[in-house]
């Protein structure tokens, strides 16, 4: 994460409304750090034309999925705990993104 320039992340999205939330969730899962970094990157993605659902999925998975922390989580909390918690958090990031943007559009 330290070695990859931040501008590279924005180029990963395709502009496809179906795949971008999944890409957002994958990217957010692979990266880690303070939520403020995710918000700054998310704002940059939004300005670059990436959909709000994809940006939301990215920010939510950034803060809730921990691939980097997985070895530590697995070692201390147990393999099944770490695997199922991370998989469910990954999927839920996409659901939260869809639900949030849907609610925002109707309010």
């Amino acid at each position: 994460m330290t070695l990859i320039p931040k501008s590279v992340y924005g180029q990963i999205f395709t502009g496809n409304l179906f795949f971008d939330p999944i890409i957002g969730s994958v990217l957010g899962s692979l990266l880690t750090g303070n939520p403020i970094t995710a918000y700054i990157l998310g704002n940059g993605f939004l300005k670059a034309g990436i959909s709000l659902i994809a940006v939301t999925a990215f920010m939510v998975s950034w803060t809730t999925v921990g691939i980097i922390q997985f070895p530590a989580e697995s070692l201390i909390m147990g393999k099944r705990f770490a695997i199922f918690r991370n998989i469910s958090a990954f999927l839920i990031a996409i659901i939260v993104a869809i639900f949030t943007v849907f609610l925002l559009s109707i309010i």
């Binding site: 070695l3 918000y39 704002n43 809730t64 530590a72 705990f81 918690r85 469910s88 939260v96």
Partner: protein, 176 residues
């Protein structure tokens, strides 16, 4: 059975050291090949270590106080099998107010797990660590208050079904 458990635990403990040794052995040659990038990574590591240190102290003080003042019976009542709404509220609020990197919270979570706290509450706690109220002003300034409110509320609420479903998956044993 006991011997098997001890052997597995020893293997796990050994893995911790192997992992650390491999990372150190990989880092140093790379540091000399790419000194600029190596310095960047080393700087990032030192910054993270300094960031972790105060949080470590706080977590271990909490662990010490909890072990001293709260017995297993009370913990099980608050966050055990029959905790209900109280358990969810505690795990959501604790997740939101918890600070510092997640690494420092795992030992406390393991301690709570051993004392009978249900996995569903620990999972909810972890999910709600994604809600950081101190950063909410930044989120609001970038995305607006309505979006921020909906997102943070949805995250807090969704941690309940996530805890329940994930706990069931963890406990699920394939029966022949």
């Amino acid at each position: 059975m006991e011997t098997l458990k001890k052997t597995n635990l020893k293997k796990k403990n050994n893995f911790k050291w192997y992992f650390l040794i491999i990372i150190i052995l990989l880092f140093f040659p790379l540091y000399f090949i790419f000194p600029d990038k190596g310095a960047l990574v080393l700087n990032s590591f030192l910054k993270l270590s300094l960031q972790i240190l105060p949080a470590f102290l706080i977590v271990y003080i909490i662990m010490l106080l909890m072990n001293y003042f709260i017995d297993n019976k009370t913990l099980k009542k608050l966050m055990g099998e029959k905790a209900g709404l109280k358990g969810w509220l505690i795990s959501i609020l604790a997740g939101i107010i918890s600070a510092g990197p997640i690494y420092v919270w795992y030992p406390l979570m393991k301690d709570l797990q051993n004392q009978g706290v249900k996995n569903r509450f620990l999972i909810s706690f972890l999910y709600n660590r994604g809600i950081k109220l101190q950063w909410a002003p930044v989120l609001i300034s970038y995305f607006g208050w309505m979006y921020s409110l909906i997102l943070l509320l949805t995250m807090a609420l969704v941690s309940i079904p996530q805890g329940i479903i994930t706990e069931k998956l963890i406990d699920y044993k394939i029966s022949k």
